[in-house]
Symmetry: C2
Subunit: 338 residues, 2 copies
């Protein structure tokens, strides 16, 4: 399709995560080493399945956020490296299970693990990575960090079930949808950011700032992802435009187009989403309806709203390279649609 979604109010200055990457490069090298070591097992299938996804070129945004958030409060031990690794494993475990639940064929431009090794291996290796994540967290020894990350694990699963229960329900309200993405996506960003100040022994206020930053960044991130699924190229995404549509996923662009649509448009959406009749002709029509009702543009607008809250969450903190790099991340996420 190759539809390009332009920001309506003009492009921001090109945002990038280069600063974040530079600031965390040395620590990330240790995270990556730990990832490889903890994805290992004498049971050959485990590193095979785990490394397929681990080495598939994810940006590792979440662990970088953890590292930067610890650095900005002067942390100098190795606990942040371990927590960053645990965060990435929780994320990887979630992706493995998600692909099973969604019956997805592609992820980050590669076949999903379930297509190669089957659903069974994906479920079990996900469980293994989650177990390993907890072991490493326990090794760090911070009960506060354990509390934050284990709560996130529950909340993420709760969000996924919520999504499953609301699947194909076009009457889902915007608020209900925000509750889902807050749980399934934003909770891990929030935990990833908060454990930084926690491990560094920062104040409650600083913890709350990073928690809020992560939560709102996560919401923005997910909304942009959902907008991208109806525009942007397959190459950028690592998934195909229209994947969400073909799977009948009720994301915000769909919710807005449906709510704002005419009676006959709603018949189209019902047929496409609820009756699994979504095909490529349907996709073109869907994108057309979204444009008519500014559903993609407004999804991006909502993302920008959360991005602004994330930025303000960090505002009172002392100016540091890490603070500035974390703010760049917000702009980077939003600029993916530009």
């Amino acid at each position: 399709m190759g539809v390009v979604v332009n920001l309506e109010d003009g492009k921001r200055e090109a945002a990038s995560i280069k600063h974040l990457i530079d600031l965390t490069a040395a620590d990330m090298a240790r995270v990556n080493e730990l990832i490889l070591s903890k994805a290992g097992s004498d049971v050959e299938m485990i590193p095979q399945v785990a490394n397929h996804l681990i080495s598939s070129g994810g940006k590792r945004l979440r662990p970088m956020v953890t590292l930067a958030a610890a650095q900005m409060f002067g942390y100098s031990g190795d606990g942040h490296v371990k927590l960053a690794m645990a965060v990435e494993f929780m994320h990887t475990a979630t992706l493995l299970h998600d692909d099973v639940v969604d019956e997805s064929g592609m992820r980050r431009g590669k076949k999903t693990a379930r297509m190669i090794w089957g659903n069974q291996a994906s479920v079990l290796v996900g469980d293994y990575l989650l177990g390993q994540a907890f072991r490493v967290m326990v090794d760090v020894g911070s009960l506060d960090a354990l509390d934050i990350l284990s709560s996130a694990a529950s909340v993420i699963a709760e969000g996924e079930v919520m999504q499953l229960a609301a699947a194909k329900n076009l009457e889902t309200t915007e608020d209900e949808h925000f509750a889902v993405i807050k749980a399934k996506t934003a909770a891990l960003f929030s935990a990833a950011a908060e454990v930084g100040p926690v491990i560094a022994g920062a104040t409650r206020t600083d913890r709350a700032a990073l928690r809020s930053y992560g939560m709102n960044l996560g919401l923005a991130f997910q909304l942009i992802d959902d907008a991208l699924d109806y525009g942007g190229s397959s190459k950028d995404l690592g998934k195909n435009v229209g994947d969400d549509f073909r799977e009948g996923k009720v994301t915000l662009p769909v919710i807005l187009a449906y709510r704002r649509g005419t009676a006959s448009e709603r018949v189209f959406w019902k047929k496409a989403i609820e009756q699994n009749s979504a095909d490529d002709t349907g996709l073109e029509q869907a994108i057309g309806l979204m444009k008519r009702h500014a559903a993609i543009a407004d999804t991006i607008g909502r993302a920008r709203h959360f991005g602004e809250i994330a930025r303000d969450a960090l505002a009172p903190l002392e100016a540091t390279p890490q603070k500035s790099a974390l703010i760049d991340v917000i702009d980077f996420c939003i600029s993916r649609v530009s």
Copy 2:
């Protein structure tokens, strides 16, 4: 089928878990309350799926072991109740995922959750329960207990993958098979027993005793379970005789019958197990071959061997009602086949 497997060397005195049930009744009431509360969620599907399995009449052997193991070292707080609940949730999460992996239709005489709510809900609610288990463990605040249980979570998943990788491989050696059941079943019994002395602040020696007791009890338990699948009634089991056979599972009775079999018998086993041709006529033949080679009796013999080690693990400990109740559990597990 209704084949009854008799112990060859005469029945022991009828063993029972009555003492264990009595000793832990008050604490188990608190565990059950906590289970119901922590399986709750505003997302309706979660308590539905969780309670289907939780209320399906499992014996709750693992949490009772945790409670008794804490009591025997004079523990008086409420940490053991929380850890017992976490152990049961880890077990429940494993069952939910197992049924997806094994494509099982029945468990404890009821339809499996996946048959009612689908594989997707079973995977995700399992993840939720695991997350809740960790939250409750973190709440207890013992890093040692967290270390033991999070390690068990990894090892269990590793064992399940090992089993998946070895699936339908009749050349599996007895030792390889022991490694699988040690990881997938015994590790949780071991952790359940060890966290008792840990939370009670008992000595390293006492911890090691309970860890060894749990590990060997778990091995005995699994082997008897595998023997029962080729004898005993559907009513006792909550599953149908021959389930393992029909699913082509390579359990110890199969391994022994195959290794001891003639060339033509091995052709039968290959066809039945590797080519998914196991049916009821095949089951009768399989049980016949197992009897010819004493495969079921010797599986029970192996179980008894581990049972003896479990008993000796507790031998040096002071005589207490809890110690005696935990020894009864060994006999109870083994007497299920009598």
